[in-house]
């Protein structure tokens, strides 16, 4: 990844630290002339994927500088200047896949501690208001993400600033600060690229609780209670639960008798995590690497998205060697460090948390219910009919954009072209190329899967091309794919188009997508790996699915709303235009 560093101070030290850092994602770096400050964002010579902007508050906001010098400054002046700064940053959206913007810190060469610091009209009060305004200027889907620079400066402590370095080179922060900055830049980029970790697989004994349950019994494991070690383990579980609420799944791989371990999880009164908090488990005496592989397959999560946490260094080494794609962090021996160690790991950074993220664990439970239901039917068709599936299709809009981008970038198996785009690029593409994106929400009697399907099309003359056909593996094989095609075909027919094509771009992981398309009914051209549907006929809508199309939320597309209603018994479709 190429990163442009934009600043109004000498940022070369940070540039080299970032370029030399060996952790993924590897970065090449370009720096703009720091005399231009934030205006350098509009420099046409910058060609990076991402921009990182770090300015000094007293340079970026002139009124703040007057405040530092003891002058009285009105709130309105500060607000206007912060807004002006934000506008200059906003103007750069679209040039980069994402912009990371450092918050402002109190200039390190100006430090006063005073009981009046936080009073209204004083320096630190003003700085807090400026940063709050800066953060609120940019919505999560705006393409600009504000990072907390105070964290980096705080990590540097008394070594955050070297007067000699400042006066010799105009570098306001030391390498102790910049190292933290590098970590957050990389975590931010990974998150924006959809590379954040999605599953934590945990050991149990001396990882989730203190003690070996097989030896001491569930009543005597240390978790919670009036015991500092027990409290530490309980807090570690709370930290895991916090991550789980942001969409990171939890699972267990433990060498234990399953019944004994589950009894602890069910019965110990101080356990924070219960069975329903885990998406799956393998509790047996098998090799942990094998168990982890099985869990990955059951949950349909790639090994590269998994973190394995185990107190035992031998187990950690074993898994690292057997499954190099799995991230196995070194783990402290002292349980009082577990919670903080977990919460400081940057690999879980995500630019947004969606409703689907929060409900992901319960969706695995729903899947188990569906699977049990399937086993009670003699045929796939009967089972699908019994699910009473409801599909809601909606245009891409500001509300569903975060989830859209998340699904767009992380889906591998049912993904026709495996394009990857940030939110900014998605919006740009849809505006630029007469394109259209639809989202598909799926629910049935077993649960709500949320937004789990995407179709994108591009119209050229009388023809349309499917640019993106994406479905979460959690809902594949339930005829949702056919419903998506039916909607797409019907839309193209309503526009009077002649044909609809799709080209399959193979990857290591999307063969299931090809398998669906080969059976889709589209005509296949093996030479080009392309599929064709002549639009003189509709696409058969699958039975057992109720479809609802919601109105347009995109103000820039002045099209007539198009609605479609279909019932379970009616295999044909009924189309009406408002």
């Amino acid at each position: 990844m190429k990163v442009s560093l934009i600043s109004d101070f000498n940022i070369q030290n940070l540039a080299h630290l970032l370029a030399n850092d060996a952790k993924e994602p590897l970065c090449t770096v370009e720096t703009a002339d720091f005399g231009q400050g934030v205006n350098a964002l509009s420099n046409p010579g910058l060609t990076a994927d991402f921009a990182f902007v770090w300015t000094l508050a007293d340079k970026a906001v002139p009124s703040f500088n007057r405040l530092l010098n003891g002058d009285a400054v009105g709130d309105g002046q500060l607000r206007d200047e912060v807004h002006g700064f934000a506008e200059r940053v906003r103007a750069s959206i679209g040039r980069f896949r994402g912009v990371l913007l450092a918050s402002w810190v109190c200039p390190p060469y100006y430090r006063r501690r005073s009981i009046t610091d936080l009073q209204k009209g004083r320096v630190k009060n003003a700085l807090m208001r400026m940063n709050l305004q800066l953060a609120e200027e940019f919505a999560p889907s705006s393409g600009v993400h504000v990072l907390d620079a105070q964290e980096w400066v705080g990590a540097g402590g008394r070594k955050c600033f070297s007067p000699k370095l400042w006066y010799l080179t105009k570098t306001p922060f030391t390498s102790e600060v910049f190292q933290e900055t590098v970590g957050d830049i990389k975590a931010g980029i990974s998150g924006l690229l959809g590379q954040s970790k999605k599953l934590i697989i945990l050991d149990l004994d001396n990882t989730l609780w203190g003690g070996t349950v097989g030896d001491c019994g569930w009543q005597n494991v240390r978790v919670g209670g009036h015991d500092y070690v027990g409290e530490a383990f309980a807090d570690f579980q709370r930290a895991l639960k916090l991550l789980s609420n942001t969409g990171v799944q939890l699972a267990v791989a433990s060498k234990n008798e399953e019944a004994v371990a589950l009894e602890t999880i069910h019965l110990h009164p101080e356990m924070v995590l219960r069975a329903q908090d885990f998406a799956a488990w393998r509790i047996n005496w098998k090799d942990k690497a094998a168990n982890i592989s099985e869990l990955a397959e059951e949950l349909n999560i790639g090994l590269q998205s998994i973190v394995f946490i185990d107190d035992n260094p031998i187990e950690r080494t074993r898994v690292r060697e057997a499954l190099p794609e799995v991230y196995v962090p070194e783990w402290p021996t002292d349980p009082t460090l577990f919670a903080s160690h977990l919460l400081h790991m940057p690999c879980f950074d995500m630019p947004y948390t969606t409703e689907e993220d929060r409900l992901r664990t319960s969706s695995y439970s729903s899947e188990k219910i569906r699977e049990r239901l399937r086993q009670t039917f003699n045929s796939q068709e009967q089972w699908l009919l019994s699910l009473d599936t409801q599909v809601t299709v909606e245009n891409l809009n500001d509300v569903n954009l975060p989830r859209f981008v998340q699904l767009f970038n992380k889906t591998n198996q049912i993904n026709l072209t495996t394009r990857r785009m940030t939110d900014v690029q998605v919006l740009q593409w849809s505006e630029k190329h007469n394109a259209r994106f639809w989202t598909f929400r799926i629910k049935d009697r077993c649960g709500d899967s949320g937004l789990t399907g995407i179709v994108g099309i591009e119209i050229n003359g009388n023809s349309a091309r499917i640019s993106d056909f994406i479905l979460s593996c959690r809902v594949m094989g339930r005829n949702i794919e056919r419903a998506m095609l039916a909607v797409t075909v019907e839309y193209c027919r309503s526009r009077g188009l002649r044909d609809l094509t799709a080209t399959y771009i193979p990857t290591a992981k999307n063969k299931p997508c090809l398998e669906f398309w080969l059976n889709s009914g589209f005509t296949f051209d093996s030479a080009n790996k392309s599929f064709l549907w002549i639009l003189d006929k509709p696409y058969p809508f699958p039975s057992g699915i109720t479809l609802t199309c919601l109105g347009d939320g995109q103000p820039q597309q002045a099209e007539a709303e198009w609605t479609m209603r279909s019932s379970v018994e009616d295999i044909g479709t009924e189309t009406s235009r408002l």
Partner: protein, 120 residues
Amino acid sequence: MGVERINSATLDPRGTAEKFEDAVKIIYAAIEQLNPQLAKGQQLQASLDTALFGSEGKLDSLGVANLIVIMEQKLEESYGFKVDLTEDDPFSLGSGHFRNISSLATYIFDLVQHHARTAS
């Protein structure tokens, strides 16, 4: 590479070679900390004849400034007194102590010895 606190220069009974070696270790530790802040082509080898500044040196002015700041910090941590490496015409091509690692180590050794004599 960590830097251990060295016996107070006034009380250090060790020989000249050992004291010189202390200075070299501090420089090597500083280089280890400095290198990630340098472009790949500027990064320094831990060797006595490694050129620092001048016609044969890889460091530009920013690199030298970074080295000065890191060295001064490590020297204070090691010897317990403040050192200013920008005194005594450090960048003179003929005699400046930033010519190479050996010249810098010699300068630090002399500085410490001088401090020991004046402090006792």
